[in-house]
Amino acid sequence: MNARRVEAITQRLLHQFRRDRRTLALLFGAPLVILGLLGYLLRGGGDVPKMGAVNLDSGQLGSLVASTLEGSKTVSASSMSQADAETRLRSGDIAGYVLLPADFTAQVQQHRVVAPEVHLEGSQPGLSQSILQSVSQSFVSLASQAGGVQFTPRVSFLYGGPSFDTLDYFGAAFIGLVVFFLVFVITAVAFLRERGQGTLERLMASPLRRAEIVLGYMLGFTVLALVQSAEVLAFSLLVLHVHNVGNVALIFLLEALMAIAAVNLGIFLSMFARTEFQAVQFIPLVIVPQVLLAGIIFPISTEPGPLQWLSHVLPLTYAVEGLRNIMIKGADLTWSTLQLDVGVVLGFCVLVILAGAATLRRRIA
């Protein structure tokens, strides 16, 4: 062991990084951006889940529970009619509602039992959890006023069900994300290799049109991506038993569109990298913020306002929402929400294909 030789290696590395401003910026900038984003996301005073309180009770206790709920800080509850609540639940406007029956006060006073109906939208386990928690808390305060009562809510789910768990919720999103992410990285690196080894220069000096290069790449990687999509899908459904009530062909269609978008995003972004090393650097810049903001982990409806706006600009948001709509809600192409999701992903595909083709020749010359 020779200290000078070790020092030589250390020094050389630091010198290299001094020249590579981009890597330095990433090394010191990206953690702040990502952590900052995460902090804002979790502490930025985002919206709490919205719920309805339907009070049919003729006695006083019903309105006591309803007003306790409305005063809650963990949910944003408002009183509404049962019909209204049902409509808003189906449109996804509220994540659930509690129904206090006409004989609510009587039941409490005679039987010491409260059994309100809690209707949950169910597609987002986190939101369902918050609502159940708030409802049970509101009954704790009821119990302290009316004496001991037994609380047995009757929970029903619009989508999913009691066995619907976190994997079911994440699974739908991750089926798309895994394919999108891996295909993006592989394409970007393959394209940079083509440039680095000089074969791209050779192709550009041939009668090939740039559209032919982009299309050829797209088809080649799409074949791989589709096989991968099928594998991921089969594993998720058959081995992990991820909740799915939708059409498998539709899931595959959306996955395929994401794969095509990822291929072209890879080609397009590789134009802005000189080395494979720099291509990998796009991961914290392009992939991580999308994972945080596309509603994969944190429901978009509970993000702070400005981030919600940003989320609605990211194409991955629509892909994730589309997959969840199909798998959790059983949406088909007649649903306008799914039409929007597929439309946005399709539009993004076209955009990156055009961007990739347009940048190709300019970056080579």
Partner: protein, 239 residues
């Protein structure tokens, strides 16, 4: 057409890289069927000139015509072969798969065997490029450049890093192809290769300083050896 007598007709080509004039008004005319040597030190502008012939460099001024067509023109490129300085190959494909790929791009997969035989790689055709020696890779790269039997072959320092024996072999092949009507533009900074060209152009500071056959260039400089002639003729300070 008069221009048809020239395989390459470039006039007053100017290419700037930032403030540096990589090409400073180069006029180059290469006749059909001749072997034209571009001679000059590293950084003289040889590669930029060759790249401008295939449309990879868009000149700021001047015109480039190749095989009678004003560039850039994609269809003309079907008749042009281009061998880059670095052996541009797919390392995880075999020699044959590489040549076949470029053959397919030009729609001429029928030339794969001829091309591989011409560079003596037919026996090693199944070898993956990553396992080939440097000289073999150079030959494979050459095979890729001529698989479509181009009318014009542009070779950017094809013999750099090639041992003398192989260099002689390659030049025999260039001469043979020229005899069959292929026009060849080859850049080099090796003087003994220059002796085998029909005509030479001395390029330096982005300018074509002198042009002519080997004998003409020696006579112009008034010396016996090409190397001396080159040094003498390039004693022009940059403008």
């Amino acid at each position: 057409m008069a221009t048809e007598t020239y395989a390459v007709d470039a006039e007053d080509v100017v290419k700037l890289f930032g403030k540096q004039r990589a090409l400073d008004g180069v006029t180059l005319r290469v006749r059909r069927g001749e072997v034209y040597g571009l001679l000059g030190p590293n950084g003289a502008g040889k590669t930029t000139l060759i790249r401008s012939l295939v449309g990879l460099v868009a000149p700021e001024a001047g015109t480039v015509s190749v095989l009678g067509h004003r560039m850039p023109q994609l269809d003309v490129l079907a008749h042009v072969g281009y061998m880059t300085q670095q052996a541009a190959l797919y390392p995880d494909l075999s020699a044959e798969e590489n040549v076949h790929f470029f053959g397919a791009i030009y729609g001429r997969v029928d030339g794969v065997r001829d091309a591989l035989e011409l560079v003596d790689l037919w026996d090693r055709r199944k070898s993956v490029v990553a396992s080939l020696s440097g000289g073999m890779r150079t030959r494979c790269s050459l095979a890729c450049a001529l698989v479509h039997k181009p009318d014009l072959l542009l070779l950017d320092e094809p013999t750099v890093g090639v041992d003398p024996q192989l260099r002689v072999q390659l030049w025999d092949r260039f001469r043979k192809m020229a005899a069959e009507g292929t026009t060849i533009v080859v850049s080099s900074h090796v003087m003994d290769e220059a002796e085998r060209c029909d005509r030479l152009g001395l390029i330096r500071f982005g300018k074509l300083l002198a042009e002519g056959s080997v004998a003409e260039i020696k006579a112009k400089a008034g010396v016996d050896r090409l190397e001396e002639a080159f040094l003498k003729l390039s004693e022009v300070s940059p403008a």
